[in-house]
C-alpha cells in the first residue's frame, strides 16, 4: 500500500511540476510573481473542454492548440499591458497580475457560468497494474508530458538565439539592451512561454479533474510552493519541487489524514524558505 501511495504522489508531482514550470520561468526572468497563473491554467482547461465538446478534439491533440492559444494570449498581455509597468516596484506588477486574475476569472464566470464541467474521454480512467501498484494511463501521460515540456524549455533557453536573449535579459537588463536585444519582445516571448505551459497544465487538469471558473486560486498557491521548494532559476527546479511536494503530500496525508494536506505543503514551504532559501536546486550567490 505504501508503494502505491508513493507512486500516486510521484504522478501527482508531475502535474504539479508542469503547473509550476511557467510560473518559475516568468518569475526567474522578469521578477513577476504571476498571481494570475491559476487563471491561465483555468483558461487552458476550458480551451480543451470546448474543443472536445464542440468538435470532439482529443485532449492530447488539443494540448498543442491550447499551448499555442495561451502563448498568444500571454504574449499579448505582456506586450501591451505588463510591459507598461514592468520597471515599477514589485507591488505594481503583483497587483496588476491580481487585476488580470479577477478579470479573467469573472469573464469566464459570466461567459460559461459556474457549472462544473469535465472532459469525458473514453480512456479517461483506464489503468494498468504492475504487481500491487495500479497506474492510470492519463496520469502517467501527464507525467511524461510535464517532463517533455521541461526538456523543450531547457532546449529553447539554452540552445536557441531567443533563449540566449531571454537568459541575457534575466541576468542584466541594461547589458542585454546594449548588445541589441529587443527587451520588450523578449519579455513578451517569456511570458507567452510561461502562459503556454500553464495552458498545457490546464489541458491535463481538465482530463483528470472537474473544472470551473474559480479553480485557479489554489493552483496558483500550489505552484508557489513548488517553485520555492525547487528553487528559482533552473528549469529542473520545478520538477524536483513538484515531485517532492507530490510525494510529501501523499505520505503526509496517509499518516496524518487527508485534511492535513494543505498544512503539510505550506509548512514545507515555510521550512524550505527558512532553511534552504534558494530551494533544493537553487544556485547560491
Amino acid at each position: 500500500m505504501l508503494l502505491q501511495i508513493i507512486v500516486n504522489g510521484i504522478l501527482k508531482g508531475g502535474l504539479y511540476a508542469l503547473m509550476a514550470l511557467g510560473m518559475s520561468l516568468i518569475w526567474g526572468v522578469m521578477d513577476i510573481i504571476n498571481i494570475a497563473h491559476g487563471a491561465f491554467i483555468m483558461l487552458g482547461a476550458y480551451c480543451t473542454y470546448w474543443l472536445f465538446n464542440l468538435w470532439g478534439v482529443d485532449p492530447f491533440i488539443s494540448l498543442f492548440l491550447s499551448i499555442i492559444f495561451m502563448f498568444i494570449i500571454g504574449y499579448g498581455i505582456q506586450r501591451y499591458l505588463i510591459n507598461l509597468v514592468i520597471r515599477a516596484t514589485i507591488f505594481i506588477t503583483l497587483i496588476l497580475a491580481f487585476g488580470i486574475e479577477i478579470f479573467i476569472n469573472n469573464l469566464a464566470l459570466v461567459m460559461w457560468t459556474a457549472d462544473v464541467r469535465k472532459v469525458q474521454v473514453p480512456y479517461g480512467a483506464s489503468n494498468f497494474s504492475i504487481g500491487c501498484v495500479t497506474i492510470p494511463y492519463v496520469r502517467l501521460g501527464a507525467f511524461f508530458i510535464a517532463l517533455v515540456i521541461a526538456l523543450v524549455f531547457y532546449f529553447v533557453l539554452n540552445k536557441t538565439r531567443t533563449g540566449r536573449s531571454i537568459r541575457a535579459t534575466a541576468q542584466d537588463l541594461d547589458a542585454a539592451r546594449l548588445v541589441g536585444v529587443d527587451v520588450a519582445k523578449t519579455y513578451a516571448l517569456t511570458f507567452g512561454m510561461g502562459v503556454g505551459a500553464a495552458g498545457a497544465a490546464g489541458t491535463l487538469w481538465a482530463v483528470l479533474f472537474p473544472i470551473n471558473p474559480m479553480m485557479g486560486g489554489i493552483l496558483t498557491l500550489k505552484s508557489f510552493v513548488v517553485v520555492i521548494i525547487g528553487g528559482l532559476g533552473t528549469m529542473f527546479g520545478p520538477i524536483i519541487g513538484g515531485l517532492t511536494l507530490g510525494v510529501a503530500e501523499a505520505l503526509g496525508s496517509n499518516w496524518f489524514g487527508t485534511t492535513y494536506e494543505n498544512f503539510i505543503s505550506f509548512t514545507i514551504l515555510v521550512l524550505v524558505l527558512i532553511f534552504l532559501p534558494k530551494g533544493i536546486l537553487g544556485k547560491s550567490e
Binding site: 501511495i5 462544473v116 495500479t134 492510470p136 479533474f209 470551473n212 474559480m214 501523499a250
Partner: protein, 405 residues
C-alpha cells in the same frame, strides 16, 4: 487661489460619492407587493449551487403571481424578490441582509446557500426579528442556538444515510463492512457521525472512517486505503465536485467496491454529465427526487413543477431546486394563515406550518429544522431513479467491477 479649485473639486467628489451611495439604496418597489430579500451566491465558490436556488425562486415567484398572489385578509398581494450577490463570502452576505432589511425594507428573508453563510445571515435576521426560511443549509449548527427566526427545509444531517443503510441490509449477499469518508464541514461531519452510529446499531462494521478537506481534489491516498481495507460499500458525505473526483479516481486506481453511495451529487445534472457512463450504479441520498409525487400549493403537483422547470431552464431539477420552492410555499401558507404581514405573527404561523408542497410534507421541529427523511437514489441508464423506499426501480447491487463494464 488656484488651490481652492482643487479643494472644491475634492469636496465635490466626496459629496458625489456619498450621495450616490445613499441614493443607491432606496429600492424601488411597486405598491401592494410583499417584498422578499435574498442574498445568494451569484459569483464565487458557491455560485454553481447558488444558481439552482435563484432559478427556482424566480420560477416559484412567477407562479405565485400568476395564480393571484398571496392573500392577506381579503386583499391579494403580488410578491417580489430582491436579490443581491454575496460573492460566496459570509461577511458580504451578512452585510447584504442588513441592507435588505434596513434599506430595501423587505418584509421577509429567504436564506442563502451553504451552512457557513446561513449562520451569519440568521444572526442578522434574529437581530431584526424578521423570519428567514432557508433551503440551503442543513447543518445542525444553524439550529443549535434555538434562534427563533430561522427555519430550514433540509432535513437533519445525522439521519441522512439511515435509509441507505437500511436498504443495505436487504441486499444479497448481505454486506458486512462499510467505509465512511466525509468532508470536514459541519454538515458532512454530522452526516458521518450519525451514519456511523446507525451502521453499528444495524450490525455493519465500519472499517474505515476518515475525514477529507472540503476543497480537496485528490482522493488517491484515501482510495488506496479503501482498496487495502476492501469494504463492501463505500459511503461518502461530501460535495458534488468531491463526488465526481471520488468516482473518477476510484476507476483510475481500479478500486472495486460493491456499492458507492454519495450524499450530494448523484441527484444533480452536472454530476451525470461530468462522469458520463462512470456515473452508472452510483447511489445518492436526497430529501427529494423528481419521481416523487406530492400535491403542491404553488404548483399543482411535483410532476407539473418538474415539467415547467425543465421547459424553462433545460436541466433536471434536484432537491436544491425543490427545497427553494418549499421556502416560498411555507411563506405563502404562513402569511395567509396569519392574515397579516407582521413579522412576529408570520413567524409564529411558520412555526405551526403543516402543509403539503411539491417538495413533500413540511412541518418544523421546535428548533426550526424540517421534520423529514431522505430517499435513496441510484443512477441507472443515465437517469436518476428513486430506488428505496418503494422506488420506481429496484436497486442494482453489487455494481460491476470497472474492468467488466
Amino acid at each position: 487661489m488656484k488651490s481652492w479649485g482643487k479643494w472644491s473639486k475634492m469636496i465635490l467628489i466626496f459629496g458625489l460619492v456619498f450621495g450616490l451611495l445613499i441614493s443607491l439604496n432606496k429600492g424601488a418597489f411597486a405598491k401592494d407587493v410583499i417584498k422578499f430579500g435574498c442574498a445568494m451566491s451569484f459569483t464565487g465558490k458557491k455560485s454553481r449551487t447558488g444558481k439552482l436556488y435563484i432559478d427556482s425562486l424566480k420560477l416559484a415567484a412567477e407562479a405565485i403571481n400568476k395564480s393571484g398572489g398571496i392573500k392577506v385578509g381579503n386583499k391579494s398581494y403580488n410578491i417580489e424578490i430582491k436579490f443581491y450577490d454575496d460573492k460566496s463570502d459570509p461577511a458580504e452576505s451578512a452585510k447584504l441582509i442588513e441592507k435588505l432589511v434596513t434599506e430595501d425594507k423587505v418584509n421577509f428573508l429567504l436564506g442563502p446557500y451553504s451552512s457557513g453563510i446561513t449562520i451569519p445571515d440568521s444572526i442578522v435576521a434574529q437581530r431584526y426579528k424578521i423570519p428567514m426560511v432557508e433551503g440551503g443549509g442543513a447543518s445542525g449548527k444553524i439550529f443549535s442556538r434555538h434562534n427563533p427566526y430561522i427555519f430550514g427545509t433540509l432535513p437533519a444531517a445525522g439521519q441522512y444515510f439511515r435509509t441507505t443503510l437500511e436498504m443495505l441490509l436487504g441486499f444479497k449477499p448481505k454486506p458486512k463492512t462499510i467505509a465512511l469518508i466525509y468532508g470536514d464541514d459541519k454538515f458532512d461531519i454530522s452526516v458521518a457521525k450519525g451514519a456511523k452510529k446507525i451502521a453499528e446499531k444495524l450490525g455493519l462494521k465500519v472499517v474505515l472512517y476518515e475525514k477529507i478537506s472540503e476543497g480537496s481534489a485528490d482522493f488517491n491516498t484515501i482510495l488506496t486505503k479503501v482498496k487495502a481495507k476492501a469494504p463492501d460499500a463505500l459511503l461518502m458525505a461530501g460535495h458534488t465536485e468531491g463526488g465526481i473526483n471520488l468516482v473518477q479516481q476510484a476507476k483510475e486506481l481500479n478500486v472495486n467496491v460493491k456499492m458507492i453511495s454519495l450524499t450530494v451529487g448523484p441527484s444533480e445534472a452536472d454530476f451525470r454529465k461530468s462522469l458520463g457512463k462512470d456515473a452508472e450504479y452510483i447511489f445518492g441520498v436526497a430529501s427529494w427526487s423528481p419521481q416523487m409525487n406530492f400535491k403542491g400549493i404553488i404548483f399543482k403537483n411535483t410532476k407539473e413543477f418538474v415539467k415547467i422547470f425543465k421547459e424553462r431552464y433545460k436541466y433536471d431539477p434536484d432537491y436544491h431546486n425543490a427545497s427553494a420552492v418549499a421556502e416560498l410555499a411555507v411563506f405563502k401558507s404562513a402569511i395567509e394563515r396569519a392574515g397579516t404581514l407582521d413579522p412576529q405573527k408570520v413567524r409564529d404561523a411558520i412555526a405551526k406550518t403543516k402543509i403539503e408542497t411539491i417538495y413533500g410534507p413540511v412541518e418544523f421541529n421546535p428548533n426550526g429544522q424540517i421534520k423529514g427523511s431522505s430517499v435513496v437514489l441510484q443512477i441507472q441508464g443515465g437517469q436518476v431513479y428513486q430506488v428505496y423506499p418503494k422506488g420506481t426501480k429496484k436497486p442494482i447491487y453489487p455494481m460491476p467491477k470497472w474492468k467488466d463494464r
